[in-house]
């Protein structure tokens, strides 16, 4: 198992890893110094169809929480993101890009407001905890910052609500999109949000207490059996089709939120102060130089995109595909690329250039892919 990835304590196991291995995981990635399962079914394609039709449970413990608590907690969180958070209430989840002084993206977590002075940032793959600590120490803010013992388990797919209603009661049906509620598991209150890294609907259980991991896994499994549950993981086909971006793939410090169409999450009118405001205001004034697009391109099925593939218009590189895969539904290859302004119209013919120099004909697509 996992011949190619050398294990050590530094690559942290999760409360579910024993179960994930018993369920026949076929590979891992590493996110936030922690294992993320990457394949179970014979192929990512099988995983994809199952996710679209049924329900899956995903070990997404690597979505670590950065807990920020104290009198200055809201001030610090607001300082970190272009998104105005003052109106958020306990029970709200907010997608909050975090930007540096250049407007570059440091992470794109989901913010959970727990109380007026306590927040979790549910992070993608960069050490936001260290960044937040640095800001707090540097500015002398009165906050405590830690990584709590919280390990999200996602339940994703069209049957997720029915499954969780059996486990937690019908109250789960009243949880709105990007809202959370508290539900009992074995006598402990657990945070359950209607959210997740797919477009198929579902929930994330922010399990507080690693010792409950195996029991939660087993309980979800048991309740899911009659819904045809399988273990799963964020699915590359579904994610790209759905236009969901990945930090470290599409988003890096060299990109900014406006390039990803996230202007609606950026308050640039001066009513809030945050790191990177001047930089983003300038980008907004000038207009972005590039913007995210889908690219559909000819088969056969593309290889793994571990190094970006140039997107060409004739002799000019107008972008680069940072995630790409064969879509069995669309029967084309699909990918994500920032595309230069002069060429970004939907439908623009482009070519995708593989490392061997060969090219595949394609065209720009809106996101999500239709």
């Amino acid at each position: 198992m996992a011949d190619g990835l050398n294990m050590s304590r530094r690559i942290r196991r999760t409360p579910y890893t024993d179960r994930v291995e018993a369920a026949g995981v076929r590979g891992f990635s590493v996110v936030n110094h922690m294992l993320l399962p990457k394949a179970f079914q014979p192929s990512v394609e099988d995983d994809y169809w199952h996710l679209c039709d049924h329900v899956q449970m995903w070990d997404v413990s690597c979505q670590r929480q950065v807990e920020i608590e104290g009198p200055d907690a809201e001030q610090l969180v607001q300082w970190m993101t272009p998104r105005a958070i003052a109106k958020a209430k306990p029970g709200d989840c907010l997608y909050v890009p975090i930007t540096d002084t250049n407007g570059g993206i440091i992470n794109d977590p989901v913010l959970l407001k727990l109380t007026d002075d306590k927040f979790w940032l549910s992070i993608a793959d960069s050490d936001v905890l260290l960044y937040a600590k640095g800001l707090a120490i540097g500015a002398g803010l009165d906050v405590a910052i830690c990584e709590p013992d919280v390990s999200p388990l996602a339940v994703q797919g069209p049957k997720a609500e029915d499954l969780l209603a059996e486990l937690f009661g019908d109250g789960i049906r009243d949880v709105g999109f990007f809202k959370y509620g508290w539900f009992d598991f074995q006598g402990t209150p657990q945070l359950v949000a209607r959210s997740g890294y797919s477009r198929q609907g579902g929930f994330e259980i922010y399990l507080n207490g690693a010792r409950f991991g195996p029991a939660l896994w087993d309980a979800v499994w048991q309740a899911g059996e009659r819904h045809n549950i399988t273990p799963g993981c964020p699915n590359l086909i579904e994610r790209i089709e759905g236009g969901l971006f990945s930090y470290g793939n599409e988003m890096t410090r060299e990109t900014n939120p406006l390039e990803f169409g996230l202007g609606k999450f950026c308050t640039l009118d001066g009513s809030i102060d945050f790191i990177g405001r001047e930089a983003l205001q300038k980008v907004a004034r000038d207009g972005v130089a590039r913007e995210i697009r889908g690219v559909m391109f000819d088969g056969p099925a593309c290889p793994t995109c571990a190094i970006p593939w140039p997107v060409m218009v004739g002799a000019y590189q107008v972008g680069q595909i940072t995630s790409g895969i064969w879509s069995p539904r669309l029967q084309r290859n699909i990918g994500l690329s920032l595309i230069d302004r002069a060429h970004w119209d939907i439908g623009t013919p482009v070519e995708v250039q593989y490392h061997d120099g060969s090219r595949r004909a394609g065209a720009l697509s809106a996101l999500p892919f239709a």
Copy 2:
């Protein structure tokens, strides 16, 4: 190849990865969001003997550089570490633990002083760049912080000096331990330090310019052929025998430098100010509650230590082994553990408890292992 690790752009390849794959790498780890080769020879044991007898080249690009430059650069670096850096000169490498307000270790990089206002921190596995950025933004320091295009290639083993003398000239012999010099490679000045993550001697070439990666790999390979060079990587047997610690394995934010015998790198007399000073001063006053030790324990060869193994004295847990492996030289298993003060005397009989509850008899050892 690497079945178990799912590849994506987020898990960054290095300037040498093509060569590493061509050389038959058998597994990777992920450090700083980048591939680190983990095995080449049929076994880690073969790698070990070769490293001790000959010379190896290691792709340690994952030792990313955090470049801090500007009028406040020295002030920021000093603030980050308990080690006094004022007397460092260009040409010096310093091992500098980085501590948080609790004295907990955030990273344990090597500091390279380039000029009076420009430093590199050559980091272990945590995003020091984000921490440094946070501190600088929070405190309003006048510095520029970036990750330059620098990818270290280590040349380790007793024949490393002879090899590099052929490549860079005899001037390489004058570079002292933990010093660096500038040497020409294909018309470019490259920083070469006498350092590396082994006790077998050697150098690290801080290659500036990813485009030179394959050429440097090939040049070292060619010069090394008559020295019986092989590709290699940090060797777990040699590292543990040598008492070299690993961030994320032995060292975490829950440990402090004094527990690792690093008091000599901590200036606690008040003459310098740094983050965590008060906490470390208190630890120094009270004495550390635990300290790093070697543990030798009975065979057969232990499994991979992915979850720490409790170190027991009777019914009491007195520590946990965070890295462990079979030593073919000592013909015993060896491991590293912080051990509670009441039990830390060298020679103390202990038992190592595996996950199945079984125990192996052992005893505490000084470091490095004799």
